[in-house]
Symmetry: C2
Subunit: 129 residues, 2 copies
């Protein structure tokens, strides 16, 4: 049966931070933000809750080029991200054509159980100035 997570102060605090954030943030950044808010939460707990949220598909996770895992609250459903490499501003985008193309080429080569990662990076209009 499905386990129902408990409604702890820490879990609420992590979720609240994610509500307020616009772009992606690392676990450590979220940990710092919590501390500055006075809602101190153990680092391990931040990691655990973020992973739990990611597993539950309530937040999206991606790795930046430094190897950190970044988290962000996103709309439901499969989508990709257009991220400003300067300010982090993120636009969620969908590409049904891309999905089909990826599944198609993989199947053509005999691959099964297909997944893909796609992120678009650029400099947003404001930062370009």
């Amino acid at each position: 049966m499905v386990v129902t997570p408990r409604n702890t102060r820490q879990r609420r605090a992590v979720a609240a931070i994610l509500e307020d954030l616009e772009g992606f943030a690392s676990a450590q950044e979220i940990h710092d933000l919590l501390r500055h808010r006075g809602e101190s939460v153990g680092l391990s707990t931040v990691y655990r809750n973020l992973q739990a949220l990611a597993d539950a598909a309530e937040v999206d996770a991606l790795r930046n080029d430094e190897g950190e895992t970044l988290y962000r609250q996103c709309s439901t459903g499969h989508h990709h991200h257009l991220v400003c490499r300067a300010c982090g501003r993120t636009v969620e985008v969908e590409g049904p054509t891309v999905e089909r193309w990826a599944d198609g080429v993989a199947a053509q080569h005999g691959y099964v159980d297909i997944a893909h990662t796609l992120e678009i990076f650029g400099t947003c209009g404001d930062c370009a100035r």
Copy 2:
């Protein structure tokens, strides 16, 4: 001025391994392969040479979902990868449609200087059995 790298035994050994490999391999795997070949090379040196090759665009690098950086000798030009998550077997694929789509959506949102990452993971026919 541009520095010319020196032609050391270690650099040659790393390049030779990459010649022989079909799929992506981590720095540590390459280090082990070198050892088994009798061409022992220090782990630091393997990392350094792989990075140098990646910087020179002579090999492609990507991160798997465990956070390891994988390296592979690839054809030149822009392409993406279809990687078996079990054995690492890799097919290089091109998707002009995807490129155009990515550039298009980014431009629509006012982003400039656009780049993207796209990798497809699956289990190849042999490993699926």
